[in-house]
């Protein structure tokens, strides 16, 4: 439960919590962009030499690998945020 005090004024800990969340989101979105726009798209010509069973790495990321990465990212975020919520006593 959020008490009245917390609703009106942010404490140092609140700022820390939000900053930690923003850092986590930034990291996740960097990986998100790297596997899809990077490996799957713009960097594909440079990765042609690496192949996964008949597909070049970029092609495989564009059609399979990006999705697997997205999945891990979302569950990683959920796991990290649950931990963070607990640490800061913010579970609802």
């Amino acid at each position: 439960m959020v008490d009245k005090q917390k609703q009106n004024e942010l404490t140092q800990r609140d700022h820390e919590y939000w900053a930690a969340n923003l850092r986590l989101i930034t990291g996740i979105l960097i990986i998100w962009a790297t596997v899809s726009y990077g490996f799957g798209l713009l960097l594909r010509p440079y990765l042609m030499g690496i192949s996964i069973g008949g597909a070049d790495l970029g092609f495989w990321f564009a059609q399979q690998g990006a999705i697997f990465t997205f999945l891990s990212l979302i569950f990683f975020y959920g796991y990290k945020m649950n931990k963070l919520d607990k640490e800061y006593g913010l579970e609802d």
Binding site: S36, Y37, G40, G53, F70, Y77, D92
Partner: protein, 580 residues
């Protein structure tokens, strides 16, 4: 048993399940009607979201679309990557805010009736465009498999949706979507597994995709590249030249996905903030099951088709028309396959006759006088069971799956439309004093209205119905996504900024789309021809939504800083949303 009887059993059986759920999941309060009481478990919400997401067009057309080659990977990344944005940037905070609809969040966060109404208009344009395709999709699926007219099929579908959506609202829609997801994913993956076993010996299509082709012992994708090259096509995995446009298109699909109201409202239905994060993960699990299966299915089905036409290999004679199996003639009647014997040799020559070099060499040597087979890409999924000799019950399953995918997406969209009308227009704008009971009645009547309009538009589709990708994703990316994101992450954005941003973003996007695809999609009214050399900076009208989003952000921030800060009360509200 005849194929018709089997299809009927599968479709009728699935309808019986939906009706049972409808009777069980009646909504008693507006909270149940709008957000299923806020009691949906994350796994179920994930399944319902996946069913919401996987539309008739995805089910029938995505594999065919991908089989064109690497360039359409944009759809695969675009329609899955948006869930990372939802999970990290929108879903948990919107759930924390605890509202019923997307315009409801916009209206409360910016404390502005104008912002709410603009959001309602955007939502209705987006969802209505989207729903027409679902209604026609259901009609087409019926017509293909159950020998009724597509209008009749559409009306039957509307009646079924009517049952669970009007009675149960979000509650009825959610639990039927769970059932519909199970039907559609089985219908999509079983034929894919079957084909993967046949062609690569792998149970999982995902590993067959990078495995070896059984008949030749070479990797599947190498074999596919080889045979399409021998027929004058570009390599299956060939890279594209316009990466810039592919990049923008993928980004528009991702941002647009995260801004689609019928997807967002699903996250209002879970009990807690943490559940909103988990259910985004579960949603992507169930969506990934579909979208990681589609590329292997596309590659294998394309190779399978070539092998059917050239049973002795592409260097040898192609198949004689009279030796083709029955399914070929069945699908010829639907117009999805067309054969024209241009050189009168009784055989089917299937190759790329747009390739001048190939025409002058190989085709000329072999006495080919043009490509003789026209294949509609939808055939890859629809006719697959027959092409690959699968048992009859799989065709019945595909019939039920195609209809399930159309109904589940249609009902999610209809709910988004009707709750915006009853909650945002009727309750929050026109008659703020009506009781919960009256609002519930209004919600049901809005749902009936939405179904009637969608049915009518499905039977008489307007020109814009075919523009779901351009219109729905372009608008969602350029209007809804930015206004929600800024509502959570930028306290300084005020109502004037939000409205100006939405109008500028969506206005720019629509203007660009109309300039190339025709004003209000009326054929012949386009200002510029829709081909790459006329696109500004090489941006196709389908890819412009993310530029519209950028304009929305810029205008909203500029206008907000030029005008007064939001009230202290509003800023505190934004702060609260950030903590579970």
């Amino acid at each position: 048993m005849s194929q018709f009887a089997i299809n009927l059993i599968f479709v009728a059986g699935s309808f019986l399940i939906y009706t049972k759920i409808a009777i069980w999941a009646r909504a008693k309060t507006t909270r149940e009607f709008y957000i299923a009481g806020g009691e949906v478990k994350p796994v179920f919400n994930g399944m319902a979201t996946a069913a919401d997401w996987l539309s008739a067009a995805s089910f029938i057309s995505v594999a065919g679309l991908i089989s064109v080659g690497y360039v359409n990977s944009a759809f695969i990344m675009g329609w899955t990557g948006g869930y990372v944005l939802l999970a990290t940037l929108l879903a948990p905070y919107l759930r924390r805010f605890g509202k019923y609809t997307v315009p409801d969040f916009v209206g409360s966060r910016y404390d502005s009736r104008a912002a709410r109404l603009v959001a309602v208009v955007m939502l209705i344009v987006i969802s209505l465009t989207y729903v027409i395709g679902q209604m026609t999709g259901a009609g087409v699926a019926f017509a293909r498999f159950l020998e009724v007219s597509s209008t009749m099929g559409l009306v039957i579908s509307a009646v079924i949706v009517f049952f669970y959506a009007v009675l149960g609202g979000m509650k009825g829609v959610t639990y039927t979507q769970v059932a519909q997801y199970i039907v559609l994913i089985l219908a999509f993956t079983i034929p894919a597994i079957y084909l993967s076993l046949q062609m690569t010996g792998n149970f999982f299509p995902q590993s067959g995709f990078v495995g070896n082709h059984v008949n030749s012992g070479t990797p599947l994708l190498h074999k596919l590249n080889e045979v399409v090259r021998e027929l004058g096509f570009r390599d299956y995995t060939a890279d594209v030249s316009n990466k810039w446009n592919m990049f923008l298109f993928t980004l528009t699909l991702m941002v647009g996905t995260a801004g689609l109201p019928h997807v967002i409202i699903r996250f209002f239905t879970v009990p807690k903030v943490a559940d909103a994060r988990w259910s985004a993960g579960w949603a992507l699990v169930f969506i990934a099951l579909f979208y990681t299966t589609a590329p292997p299915l596309a590659a294998m089905a394309r190779l399978n088709l070539v092998e059917t036409i050239y049973p002795q290999g592409t260097e040898a004679e192609s198949v004689a028309y009279e030796n083709l199996p029955d399914w070929f003639r069945t699908w010829e009647q639907t117009g999805l396959l067309k054969f024209e014997d241009k050189n009168n040799d009784g055989r089917i020559q299937f190759y790329n006759d747009q390739n001048a070099e190939f025409n002058d060499t190989v085709a000329a040597e072999r006495g080919w006088e043009g490509n003789e087979l026209t294949v509609n890409n939808d055939i890859l999924v629809l006719a697959l069971p027959e092409i690959a000799n699968m048992p009859k019950w799989i065709i019945g399953l595909i019939a039920a799956g195609g209809i399930a995918s159309a109904l589940s997406t249609a009902s999610g969209l209809l709910l988004a439309i009707s709750s915006a009308v009853s909650h945002d227009l009727i309750k929050n704008t026109l008659f703020p004093n009506i009781s919960d009971k009256k609002e519930m009645l209004a919600a049901r009547i809005s749902m009936v209205g939405a179904i009637l309009i969608a049915t009518w538009l499905g039977i008489n589709p307007p020109g814009f119905a075919a523009q779901t990708v351009a219109l729905a994703f372009g608008m969602a990316a350029s209007s809804i996504f930015p206004v929600l994101l800024m509502g959570i992450f930028f306290k300084r954005i005020n109502a004037t900024g939000a409205v100006a941003g939405m109008v500028a973003g969506a206005g720019f996007t629509l203007t660009y789309i109309f300039s190339y695809l025709g004003w209000f999609f009326i054929p012949g009214t386009n200002t510029f021809p829709n081909s790459p050399e006329f696109w500004i900076l090489g941006i196709s009208p389908l890819s412009v939504g993310c530029i519209g989003a950028f304009i929305n952000f810029t205008v909203a921030i500029g206008v907000s800083y030029a005008t007064s800060e939001p009230s202290a009360e509003l800023q505190r509200m934004v702060q609260r949303v950030r903590y579970p």
